[in-house]
Protein backbone atom coordinates (compact mmCIF):
# COMPACT_ATOMS: atom_id res chain seq x y z
CA UNK A 1 0.00 0.00 0.00
CA UNK A 2 1.43 3.42 -0.94
CA UNK A 3 2.18 5.98 1.76
CA UNK A 4 0.13 8.51 -0.10
CA UNK A 5 -2.04 8.45 -3.14
CA UNK A 6 -3.83 11.09 -5.19
CA UNK A 7 -6.57 10.21 -7.64
CA UNK A 8 -7.99 12.83 -10.00
CA UNK A 9 -7.28 15.68 -7.62
CA UNK A 10 -8.45 19.12 -8.67
CA UNK A 11 -8.18 22.28 -6.61
CA UNK A 12 -10.20 25.26 -7.71
CA UNK A 13 -10.10 28.51 -5.73
CA UNK A 14 -13.04 30.84 -5.41
CA UNK A 15 -13.08 32.96 -8.54
CA UNK A 16 -12.43 29.95 -10.73
CA UNK A 17 -8.62 29.82 -10.60
CA UNK A 18 -7.62 26.19 -11.07
CA UNK A 19 -4.43 25.53 -9.12
CA UNK A 20 -4.44 21.76 -9.76
CA UNK A 21 -6.19 19.79 -12.48
CA UNK A 22 -6.88 16.08 -12.34
CA UNK A 23 -3.61 15.10 -10.66
CA UNK A 24 -3.00 11.43 -9.87
CA UNK A 25 0.10 9.73 -8.47
CA UNK A 26 1.28 7.53 -5.65
CA UNK A 27 4.28 7.69 -3.36
CA UNK A 28 5.67 4.66 -1.59
CA UNK A 29 7.20 4.57 1.84
CA UNK A 30 10.89 5.51 1.79
CA UNK A 31 10.76 7.32 -1.55
CA UNK A 32 12.40 10.67 -2.33
CA UNK A 33 10.27 12.68 -4.71
CA UNK A 34 10.78 16.03 -6.37
CA UNK A 35 7.77 18.15 -7.29
CA UNK A 36 9.11 20.28 -10.08
CA UNK A 37 7.75 23.06 -12.19
CA UNK A 38 7.83 26.80 -12.61
CA UNK A 39 6.21 29.25 -10.21
CA UNK A 40 2.42 28.90 -10.30
CA UNK A 41 2.58 25.27 -11.42
CA UNK A 42 0.67 24.11 -8.34
CA UNK A 43 3.55 22.68 -6.25
CA UNK A 44 2.72 24.58 -3.08
CA UNK A 45 -1.00 23.92 -3.45
CA UNK A 46 -0.26 20.21 -3.74
CA UNK A 47 1.84 20.23 -0.57
CA UNK A 48 -0.83 22.22 1.28
CA UNK A 49 -3.42 19.63 0.23
CA UNK A 50 -1.27 16.87 1.69
CA UNK A 51 -1.27 18.47 5.17
CA UNK A 52 -4.89 19.51 4.73
CA UNK A 53 -4.20 23.20 4.90
CA UNK A 54 -6.40 23.13 1.80
CA UNK A 55 -9.14 20.72 0.77
CA UNK A 56 -9.35 19.37 -2.77
CA UNK A 57 -12.33 20.45 -4.85
CA UNK A 58 -12.46 17.05 -6.54
CA UNK A 59 -10.66 13.73 -6.30
CA UNK A 60 -9.31 11.56 -3.53
CA UNK A 61 -6.22 12.04 -1.39
CA UNK A 62 -5.07 9.22 0.84
CA UNK A 63 -2.27 9.85 3.34
CA UNK A 64 -1.24 6.99 5.63
CA UNK A 65 -4.37 5.24 4.34
CA UNK A 66 -6.73 7.99 5.45
CA UNK A 67 -9.00 9.88 3.09
CA UNK A 68 -8.29 13.55 3.64
CA UNK A 69 -11.69 14.49 2.23
CA UNK A 70 -13.49 12.41 4.78
CA UNK A 71 -11.25 12.84 7.79
CA UNK A 72 -12.83 14.51 10.83
CA UNK A 73 -11.58 18.02 11.56
CA UNK A 74 -10.57 16.95 15.07
CA UNK A 75 -8.33 14.20 13.63
CA UNK A 76 -6.36 16.53 11.36
CA UNK A 77 -3.85 17.67 14.06
CA UNK A 78 -2.97 14.03 14.81
CA UNK A 79 -2.41 13.38 11.09
CA UNK A 80 -0.14 16.43 10.88
CA UNK A 81 2.04 15.16 13.73
CA UNK A 82 3.23 12.51 11.27
CA UNK A 83 4.12 14.99 8.56
CA UNK A 84 7.09 17.34 8.79
CA UNK A 85 6.88 20.58 6.82
CA UNK A 86 9.77 22.80 5.77
CA UNK A 87 9.20 26.24 4.25
CA UNK A 88 11.22 28.22 1.76
CA UNK A 89 11.38 31.18 4.16
CA UNK A 90 12.27 29.00 7.18
CA UNK A 91 9.50 30.53 9.39
CA UNK A 92 11.65 30.61 12.52
CA UNK A 93 10.38 32.56 15.52
CA UNK A 94 12.73 35.50 15.90
CA UNK A 95 12.32 35.89 19.65
CA UNK A 96 13.15 32.24 20.41
CA UNK A 97 16.51 30.55 20.48
CA UNK A 98 17.42 27.81 18.04
CA UNK A 99 16.71 25.16 20.70
CA UNK A 100 13.32 26.72 21.51
CA UNK A 101 12.42 26.85 17.84
CA UNK A 102 13.29 23.21 17.41
CA UNK A 103 11.40 22.22 20.56
CA UNK A 104 8.23 24.07 19.50
CA UNK A 105 6.26 21.04 18.31
CA UNK A 106 7.41 18.74 21.10
CA UNK A 107 5.27 20.55 23.68
CA UNK A 108 2.22 19.44 21.71
CA UNK A 109 3.16 15.84 22.41
CA UNK A 110 3.25 16.43 26.17
CA UNK A 111 6.83 15.16 26.56
CA UNK A 112 8.86 15.69 29.72
CA UNK A 113 11.51 18.39 29.81
CA UNK A 114 14.18 15.72 29.73
CA UNK A 115 12.64 14.04 26.69
CA UNK A 116 12.34 17.38 24.93
CA UNK A 117 15.94 18.32 25.71
CA UNK A 118 17.19 14.95 24.57
CA UNK A 119 15.26 15.07 21.26
CA UNK A 120 16.36 18.65 20.57
CA UNK A 121 20.01 17.83 21.28
CA UNK A 122 19.76 14.80 19.02
CA UNK A 123 18.24 16.83 16.18
CA UNK A 124 20.74 19.67 16.55
CA UNK A 125 23.63 17.20 16.55
CA UNK A 126 22.18 15.48 13.51
CA UNK A 127 22.14 18.75 11.60
CA UNK A 128 25.46 19.99 12.99
CA UNK A 129 23.88 22.83 14.90
CA UNK A 130 25.06 21.90 18.43
CA UNK A 131 26.96 25.10 19.05
CA UNK A 132 24.04 27.28 18.00
CA UNK A 133 21.39 26.03 20.44
CA UNK A 134 21.31 29.27 22.40
CA UNK A 135 21.56 31.58 19.37
CA UNK A 136 18.69 33.61 17.99
CA UNK A 137 17.75 32.98 14.34
CA UNK A 138 18.87 36.47 13.30
CA UNK A 139 22.45 35.55 14.20
CA UNK A 140 22.47 32.57 11.78
CA UNK A 141 23.28 32.30 8.10
CA UNK A 142 20.58 31.31 5.61
CA UNK A 143 21.85 27.74 5.44
CA UNK A 144 21.91 27.44 9.22
CA UNK A 145 18.39 28.83 9.45
CA UNK A 146 17.16 26.27 6.95
CA UNK A 147 18.83 23.50 8.92
CA UNK A 148 17.07 24.73 12.07
CA UNK A 149 13.77 24.63 10.16
CA UNK A 150 14.51 21.06 9.07
CA UNK A 151 15.49 20.15 12.65
CA UNK A 152 12.16 21.56 13.87
CA UNK A 153 10.34 19.22 11.48
CA UNK A 154 12.56 16.20 12.15
CA UNK A 155 12.44 16.40 15.91
CA UNK A 156 8.83 15.17 15.68
CA UNK A 157 10.15 11.97 14.01
CA UNK A 158 7.72 12.20 11.08
CA UNK A 159 7.58 9.33 8.59
CA UNK A 160 6.82 11.88 5.85
CA UNK A 161 8.67 15.16 5.26
CA UNK A 162 7.35 17.83 2.89
CA UNK A 163 9.67 20.64 1.87
CA UNK A 164 8.32 23.60 -0.06
CA UNK A 165 11.19 25.14 -2.06
CA UNK A 166 13.58 24.73 0.89
CA UNK A 167 16.49 25.90 -1.27
CA UNK A 168 14.70 28.90 -2.74
CA UNK A 169 16.57 31.39 -0.53
CA UNK A 170 19.94 29.64 -0.60
CA UNK A 171 22.94 29.79 -2.90
CA UNK A 172 24.01 26.77 -4.95
CA UNK A 173 26.36 25.24 -2.36
CA UNK A 174 23.86 25.59 0.46
CA UNK A 175 21.05 24.29 -1.77
CA UNK A 176 23.11 21.25 -2.60
CA UNK A 177 23.96 20.80 1.06
CA UNK A 178 20.26 20.98 2.00
CA UNK A 179 19.29 18.29 -0.52
CA UNK A 180 22.22 16.16 0.68
CA UNK A 181 20.79 16.49 4.18
CA UNK A 182 17.29 15.52 3.05
CA UNK A 183 18.73 12.59 1.11
CA UNK A 184 20.51 11.41 4.25
CA UNK A 185 17.21 11.54 6.17
CA UNK A 186 15.54 9.67 3.34
CA UNK A 187 18.12 6.90 3.52
CA UNK A 188 17.19 6.51 7.18
CA UNK A 189 13.60 5.81 6.17
CA UNK A 190 11.84 9.18 6.01
CA UNK A 191 9.77 9.66 2.88
CA UNK A 192 10.65 13.05 1.41
CA UNK A 193 8.67 15.18 -1.03
CA UNK A 194 10.48 18.34 -2.03
CA UNK A 195 9.09 21.07 -4.26
CA UNK A 196 11.65 22.92 -6.35
CA UNK A 197 11.98 24.81 -9.59
CA UNK A 198 15.78 24.53 -9.59
CA UNK A 199 16.75 22.57 -12.72
CA UNK A 200 20.40 22.33 -11.61
CA UNK A 201 19.37 20.57 -8.42
CA UNK A 202 17.13 18.22 -10.36
CA UNK A 203 20.02 17.37 -12.65
CA UNK A 204 22.39 16.87 -9.72
CA UNK A 205 19.90 14.73 -7.73
CA UNK A 206 18.09 12.44 -10.16
CA UNK A 207 15.31 11.21 -7.88
CA UNK A 208 11.83 10.51 -9.13
CA UNK A 209 10.41 13.82 -10.33
CA UNK A 210 6.81 14.89 -10.93
CA UNK A 211 6.62 17.77 -13.39
CA UNK A 212 3.72 20.11 -12.92
CA UNK A 213 2.68 22.75 -15.38
CA UNK A 214 -0.28 25.08 -14.86
CA UNK A 215 -1.79 22.70 -12.36
CA UNK A 216 -1.48 19.57 -14.47
CA UNK A 217 0.89 16.67 -13.95
CA UNK A 218 2.79 16.56 -17.24
CA UNK A 219 5.51 14.04 -16.47
CA UNK A 220 6.32 11.44 -13.83
CA UNK A 221 10.03 10.80 -14.37
CA UNK A 222 11.40 7.85 -12.43
CA UNK A 223 14.66 8.02 -10.47
CA UNK A 224 17.79 7.29 -12.45
CA UNK A 225 21.44 7.19 -11.47
CA UNK A 226 23.12 10.43 -12.51
CA UNK A 227 26.64 10.73 -13.78
CA UNK A 228 28.90 11.14 -10.76
CA UNK A 229 26.13 10.54 -8.24
CA UNK A 230 25.17 7.38 -6.45
CA UNK A 231 22.94 8.99 -3.86
CA UNK A 232 19.60 8.63 -5.66
CA UNK A 233 17.58 5.59 -4.78
Amino acid sequence: MPLLSLQGVTKRYPGGVEALRDVSFEVNEGEFLFLAGPSGAGKTTLLRLLVRLEVATQGDILVFGRHLQRIRESSVPYLRRNIGFVFQDFRLLGDRTVAENVALGLHILGLTRREIRSRVEEALADLQLEGLAASLPAALSGGEQQRVAIARALVMHPPLLLADEPTGNLDWDLSNETVRLLARLNRRGTTVIMATHDRFLLREWPYRTLWLHRGALVEDRPASPAPGSTEAS
Binding site: P77, R80, L93, L104, I108, G110, M156
Partner: protein
Protein backbone atom coordinates in the same frame (compact mmCIF):
# COMPACT_ATOMS: atom_id res chain seq x y z
CA UNK B 1 -1.18 8.62 37.31
CA UNK B 2 -1.32 7.06 33.86
CA UNK B 3 1.09 8.23 31.19
CA UNK B 4 -1.53 10.07 29.02
CA UNK B 5 -2.82 11.87 32.10
CA UNK B 6 0.72 12.90 33.03
CA UNK B 7 1.37 14.19 29.57
CA UNK B 8 -1.95 16.06 29.72
CA UNK B 9 -0.89 17.67 33.01
CA UNK B 10 2.48 18.60 31.49
CA UNK B 11 0.72 20.11 28.50
CA UNK B 12 -1.59 22.03 30.84
CA UNK B 13 1.32 23.46 32.81
CA UNK B 14 3.10 24.42 29.60
CA UNK B 15 -0.01 26.19 28.31
CA UNK B 16 -0.49 28.07 31.60
CA UNK B 17 3.12 29.18 31.26
CA UNK B 18 2.40 30.33 27.71
CA UNK B 19 -0.63 32.24 28.99
CA UNK B 20 1.55 33.97 31.59
CA UNK B 21 4.05 34.86 28.90
CA UNK B 22 1.17 36.30 26.89
CA UNK B 23 0.72 38.91 29.63
CA UNK B 24 4.14 40.28 28.67
CA UNK B 25 3.33 40.66 24.98
CA UNK B 26 1.83 44.12 25.51
CA UNK B 27 2.64 44.95 29.13
CA UNK B 28 1.33 48.51 29.04
CA UNK B 29 -1.98 47.48 27.54
CA UNK B 30 -2.27 44.55 29.95
CA UNK B 31 -1.65 46.86 32.90
CA UNK B 32 -4.29 49.30 31.68
CA UNK B 33 -6.91 46.63 31.21
CA UNK B 34 -6.20 45.23 34.69
CA UNK B 35 -6.38 48.74 36.15
CA UNK B 36 -9.67 49.52 34.41
CA UNK B 37 -11.15 46.25 35.57
CA UNK B 38 -9.96 46.99 39.11
CA UNK B 39 -11.57 50.44 39.11
CA UNK B 40 -14.78 48.92 37.72
CA UNK B 41 -14.84 46.28 40.44
CA UNK B 42 -14.13 48.92 43.11
CA UNK B 43 -17.05 51.00 41.91
CA UNK B 44 -19.37 48.01 41.77
CA UNK B 45 -18.39 46.85 45.24
CA UNK B 46 -18.76 50.38 46.63
CA UNK B 47 -22.13 50.68 44.92
CA UNK B 48 -23.23 47.44 46.57
CA UNK B 49 -21.99 48.71 49.96
CA UNK B 50 -23.83 51.99 49.37
CA UNK B 51 -26.95 50.03 48.46
CA UNK B 52 -26.68 48.15 51.74
CA UNK B 53 -26.31 51.43 53.62
CA UNK B 54 -29.33 52.92 51.86
CA UNK B 55 -31.43 49.91 52.75
CA UNK B 56 -30.31 50.04 56.38
CA UNK B 57 -31.02 53.76 56.60
CA UNK B 58 -34.50 53.31 55.15
CA UNK B 59 -35.15 50.49 57.56
CA UNK B 60 -33.95 52.56 60.49
CA UNK B 61 -36.11 55.45 59.29
CA UNK B 62 -39.10 53.20 59.18
CA UNK B 63 -38.37 51.71 62.59
CA UNK B 64 -37.91 55.16 64.06
CA UNK B 65 -41.19 56.35 62.64
CA UNK B 66 -43.59 55.88 65.45
CA UNK B 67 -46.58 58.21 65.70
CA UNK B 68 -48.58 58.89 68.83
CA UNK B 69 -52.23 59.55 68.09
CA UNK B 70 -53.74 61.22 71.17
CA UNK B 71 -57.44 60.57 71.49
CA UNK B 72 -60.08 62.94 72.73
CA UNK B 73 -61.45 62.24 76.17
CA UNK B 74 -63.65 60.28 76.41
CA UNK B 75 -63.72 57.96 73.43
CA UNK B 76 -65.73 54.80 73.89
CA UNK B 77 -63.81 51.54 73.85
CA UNK B 78 -65.76 50.26 70.85
CA UNK B 79 -64.84 53.38 68.93
CA UNK B 80 -61.16 52.95 69.86
CA UNK B 81 -61.21 49.35 68.69
CA UNK B 82 -62.91 50.33 65.43
CA UNK B 83 -60.23 52.99 64.88
CA UNK B 84 -57.46 50.52 65.68
CA UNK B 85 -58.70 47.94 63.22
CA UNK B 86 -59.12 50.62 60.56
CA UNK B 87 -55.53 51.74 61.07
CA UNK B 88 -54.26 48.18 61.09
CA UNK B 89 -55.55 47.79 57.53
CA UNK B 90 -53.48 50.69 56.22
CA UNK B 91 -50.46 49.89 54.01
CA UNK B 92 -48.22 52.29 55.90
CA UNK B 93 -49.02 50.84 59.32
CA UNK B 94 -46.92 48.08 60.85
CA UNK B 95 -48.76 47.83 64.20
CA UNK B 96 -51.12 49.75 66.48
CA UNK B 97 -50.96 49.63 70.28
CA UNK B 98 -53.35 51.25 72.70
CA UNK B 99 -51.68 53.28 75.49
CA UNK B 100 -53.63 54.00 78.66
CA UNK B 101 -53.34 57.34 80.40
CA UNK B 102 -51.00 55.74 82.97
CA UNK B 103 -48.80 54.15 80.35
CA UNK B 104 -48.49 57.48 78.51
CA UNK B 105 -47.68 59.22 81.78
CA UNK B 106 -44.99 56.65 82.51
CA UNK B 107 -43.51 57.21 79.02
CA UNK B 108 -43.46 60.94 79.61
CA UNK B 109 -41.90 60.47 83.02
CA UNK B 110 -39.06 58.54 81.42
CA UNK B 111 -38.32 61.53 79.19
CA UNK B 112 -37.96 63.91 82.14
CA UNK B 113 -34.97 64.19 84.48
CA UNK B 114 -35.44 61.73 87.39
CA UNK B 115 -34.93 64.54 89.99
CA UNK B 116 -37.77 66.54 88.52
CA UNK B 117 -40.06 63.51 88.36
CA UNK B 118 -39.37 62.74 92.00
CA UNK B 119 -40.19 66.29 93.06
CA UNK B 120 -43.55 66.37 91.24
CA UNK B 121 -46.86 64.80 92.26
CA UNK B 122 -47.79 62.02 89.75
CA UNK B 123 -50.82 63.97 88.41
CA UNK B 124 -48.52 66.83 87.41
CA UNK B 125 -46.97 64.71 84.67
CA UNK B 126 -49.24 64.73 81.64
CA UNK B 127 -50.90 61.54 80.50
CA UNK B 128 -53.52 61.00 77.80
CA UNK B 129 -54.82 57.81 76.24
CA UNK B 130 -53.40 57.35 72.80
CA UNK B 131 -52.66 54.95 69.98
CA UNK B 132 -49.03 54.20 69.24
CA UNK B 133 -48.78 53.60 65.50
CA UNK B 134 -45.59 52.02 64.14
CA UNK B 135 -45.08 52.87 60.49
CA UNK B 136 -44.04 50.31 57.93
CA UNK B 137 -41.03 50.91 55.61
CA UNK B 138 -42.25 50.87 52.04
CA UNK B 139 -39.48 51.32 49.45
CA UNK B 140 -42.11 51.77 46.72
CA UNK B 141 -43.49 54.85 48.56
CA UNK B 142 -40.47 57.04 49.23
CA UNK B 143 -42.69 60.04 50.08
CA UNK B 144 -43.34 58.41 53.47
CA UNK B 145 -46.52 58.31 55.53
CA UNK B 146 -47.54 61.97 55.03
CA UNK B 147 -50.96 61.08 53.59
CA UNK B 148 -51.66 58.77 56.51
CA UNK B 149 -50.72 61.43 59.05
CA UNK B 150 -53.02 63.98 57.37
CA UNK B 151 -55.95 61.54 57.41
CA UNK B 152 -55.33 60.80 61.11
CA UNK B 153 -55.40 64.49 61.95
CA UNK B 154 -58.76 64.81 60.20
CA UNK B 155 -60.44 62.16 62.36
CA UNK B 156 -63.05 63.35 64.84
CA UNK B 157 -61.84 61.10 67.67
CA UNK B 158 -58.29 62.34 67.38
CA UNK B 159 -57.09 65.14 69.59
CA UNK B 160 -53.52 65.45 68.40
CA UNK B 161 -51.08 63.58 66.18
CA UNK B 162 -47.53 63.81 67.50
CA UNK B 163 -44.94 64.30 64.75
CA UNK B 164 -42.89 61.22 63.87
CA UNK B 165 -39.79 60.78 65.94
CA UNK B 166 -37.23 63.30 64.83
CA UNK B 167 -34.75 61.69 62.42
CA UNK B 168 -37.13 59.48 60.48
CA UNK B 169 -37.49 61.90 57.59
CA UNK B 170 -33.83 62.82 57.78
CA UNK B 171 -32.84 59.19 57.60
CA UNK B 172 -35.11 58.79 54.59
CA UNK B 173 -33.47 61.75 52.92
CA UNK B 174 -30.05 60.31 53.68
CA UNK B 175 -31.13 56.94 52.31
CA UNK B 176 -32.33 58.62 49.11
CA UNK B 177 -29.01 60.48 48.77
CA UNK B 178 -27.00 57.33 49.36
CA UNK B 179 -29.18 55.50 46.84
CA UNK B 180 -28.53 58.21 44.27
CA UNK B 181 -24.80 57.87 44.96
CA UNK B 182 -25.10 54.14 44.42
CA UNK B 183 -26.89 54.66 41.09
CA UNK B 184 -24.20 57.07 39.93
CA UNK B 185 -21.45 54.63 40.95
CA UNK B 186 -23.20 51.80 39.12
CA UNK B 187 -23.62 53.89 35.97
CA UNK B 188 -19.92 54.77 36.04
CA UNK B 189 -19.08 51.11 36.61
CA UNK B 190 -21.16 50.02 33.61
CA UNK B 191 -19.41 52.57 31.38
CA UNK B 192 -16.03 51.50 32.69
CA UNK B 193 -16.91 47.84 32.26
CA UNK B 194 -17.62 48.38 28.57
CA UNK B 195 -14.32 50.25 28.25
CA UNK B 196 -12.31 47.67 30.15
CA UNK B 197 -13.89 44.79 28.21
CA UNK B 198 -12.85 46.32 24.92
CA UNK B 199 -9.39 46.87 26.40
CA UNK B 200 -9.14 43.22 27.42
CA UNK B 201 -10.24 42.10 23.95
CA UNK B 202 -7.76 44.52 22.32
CA UNK B 203 -4.93 43.18 24.50
CA UNK B 204 -5.78 39.60 23.64
CA UNK B 205 -6.12 40.44 19.95
CA UNK B 206 -2.67 41.97 20.05
CA UNK B 207 -1.29 38.82 21.67
CA UNK B 208 -2.90 36.80 18.89
CA UNK B 209 -1.33 39.10 16.30
CA UNK B 210 2.09 38.66 17.88
CA UNK B 211 1.61 34.91 18.05
CA UNK B 212 0.24 34.55 14.53
CA UNK B 213 3.42 32.97 13.11
CA UNK B 214 3.74 30.69 16.09
CA UNK B 215 0.09 29.62 15.84
CA UNK B 216 0.49 28.87 12.11
CA UNK B 217 3.54 26.74 12.84
CA UNK B 218 1.95 24.96 15.78
CA UNK B 219 -1.14 24.19 13.72
CA UNK B 220 1.08 22.65 11.05
CA UNK B 221 3.03 20.71 13.67
CA UNK B 222 -0.21 19.13 14.87
CA UNK B 223 -1.51 21.37 17.64
CA UNK B 224 -5.20 20.97 18.40
CA UNK B 225 -7.49 24.01 18.58
CA UNK B 226 -7.61 23.55 22.36
CA UNK B 227 -3.82 23.68 22.55
CA UNK B 228 -3.80 26.87 20.49
CA UNK B 229 -6.58 28.61 22.38
CA UNK B 230 -5.74 27.69 25.95
CA UNK B 231 -2.87 30.20 26.43
CA UNK B 232 -5.16 33.00 25.30
CA UNK B 233 -7.89 31.82 27.66
CA UNK B 234 -5.39 31.61 30.53
CA UNK B 235 -4.19 35.11 29.72
CA UNK B 236 -7.75 36.48 29.58
CA UNK B 237 -8.78 34.70 32.77
CA UNK B 238 -5.71 35.98 34.63
CA UNK B 239 -6.35 39.53 33.49
CA UNK B 240 -10.00 39.32 34.53
CA UNK B 241 -9.39 37.64 37.88
CA UNK B 242 -6.47 39.85 38.91
CA UNK B 243 -8.30 43.01 37.81
CA UNK B 244 -11.62 42.27 39.50
CA UNK B 245 -9.97 40.71 42.56
CA UNK B 246 -7.75 43.73 43.13
CA UNK B 247 -10.73 45.98 42.50
CA UNK B 248 -12.82 44.34 45.20
CA UNK B 249 -9.93 44.56 47.66
CA UNK B 250 -9.47 48.23 46.73
CA UNK B 251 -13.21 48.81 47.12
CA UNK B 252 -13.10 47.22 50.57
CA UNK B 253 -10.22 49.49 51.56
CA UNK B 254 -12.08 52.59 50.35
CA UNK B 255 -15.27 51.46 52.09
CA UNK B 256 -13.35 50.91 55.34
CA UNK B 257 -11.72 54.32 55.10
CA UNK B 258 -15.00 56.04 54.31
CA UNK B 259 -16.75 54.18 57.12
CA UNK B 260 -14.09 55.18 59.63
CA UNK B 261 -14.35 58.81 58.54
CA UNK B 262 -18.16 58.90 58.69
CA UNK B 263 -18.28 57.04 61.98
CA UNK B 264 -15.86 59.53 63.53
CA UNK B 265 -17.85 62.53 62.32
CA UNK B 266 -21.43 61.41 62.78
CA UNK B 267 -21.35 58.95 65.64
CA UNK B 268 -22.53 56.15 63.40
CA UNK B 269 -21.54 52.51 63.26
CA UNK B 270 -21.33 49.92 60.50
CA UNK B 271 -21.74 52.58 57.83
CA UNK B 272 -20.40 50.68 54.82
CA UNK B 273 -20.22 46.94 55.18
CA UNK B 274 -18.52 44.78 52.59
CA UNK B 275 -18.63 41.00 52.80
CA UNK B 276 -15.19 40.19 51.44
CA UNK B 277 -15.77 36.48 52.06
CA UNK B 278 -18.52 36.67 49.43
CA UNK B 279 -17.30 39.52 47.27
CA UNK B 280 -13.82 38.14 46.56
CA UNK B 281 -14.87 34.70 45.29
CA UNK B 282 -17.63 36.36 43.27
CA UNK B 283 -15.16 38.82 41.75
CA UNK B 284 -12.74 36.02 40.88
CA UNK B 285 -15.52 33.99 39.27
CA UNK B 286 -16.74 37.03 37.34
CA UNK B 287 -13.15 37.78 36.29
CA UNK B 288 -12.75 34.24 35.03
CA UNK B 289 -15.95 34.40 32.98
CA UNK B 290 -15.10 37.87 31.68
CA UNK B 291 -11.57 36.86 30.68
CA UNK B 292 -12.73 33.70 28.93
CA UNK B 293 -15.40 35.67 27.09
CA UNK B 294 -12.77 38.23 26.06
CA UNK B 295 -10.50 35.46 24.75
CA UNK B 296 -13.38 33.94 22.81
CA UNK B 297 -14.31 37.29 21.27
CA UNK B 298 -10.66 37.99 20.36
CA UNK B 299 -10.13 34.60 18.73
CA UNK B 300 -13.46 34.79 16.86
CA UNK B 301 -12.52 38.26 15.64
CA UNK B 302 -9.20 36.96 14.32
CA UNK B 303 -10.87 33.98 12.65
CA UNK B 304 -13.32 36.31 10.93
Amino acid sequence: MTVPLRSLVRQGLYLVGQGLQGLRVAPGQTLWSVLLLAVTASLVSLAIAFGGLAARLSEQAARGSRVLVYLKDPVPTAEVQRLMSRLQGQADVESVTYLTREQDRAENARLLPPDLVASLPPEAIPGQHALEVSLRFRPEAPEGPDALLASLRALEEVDLVAEPVVGGQRLRAMAAAVDLGRTILLAMAVLLLVGSLSFVVATLTRTLDRRRDEVTLLRLLGATEGFLRTPLMVQGALQGMVGLGLGVLGGALVADGLSAWLEGRHDLHRVLVMRLDLALPLALAAGLVLGLAGALVASRRKEA
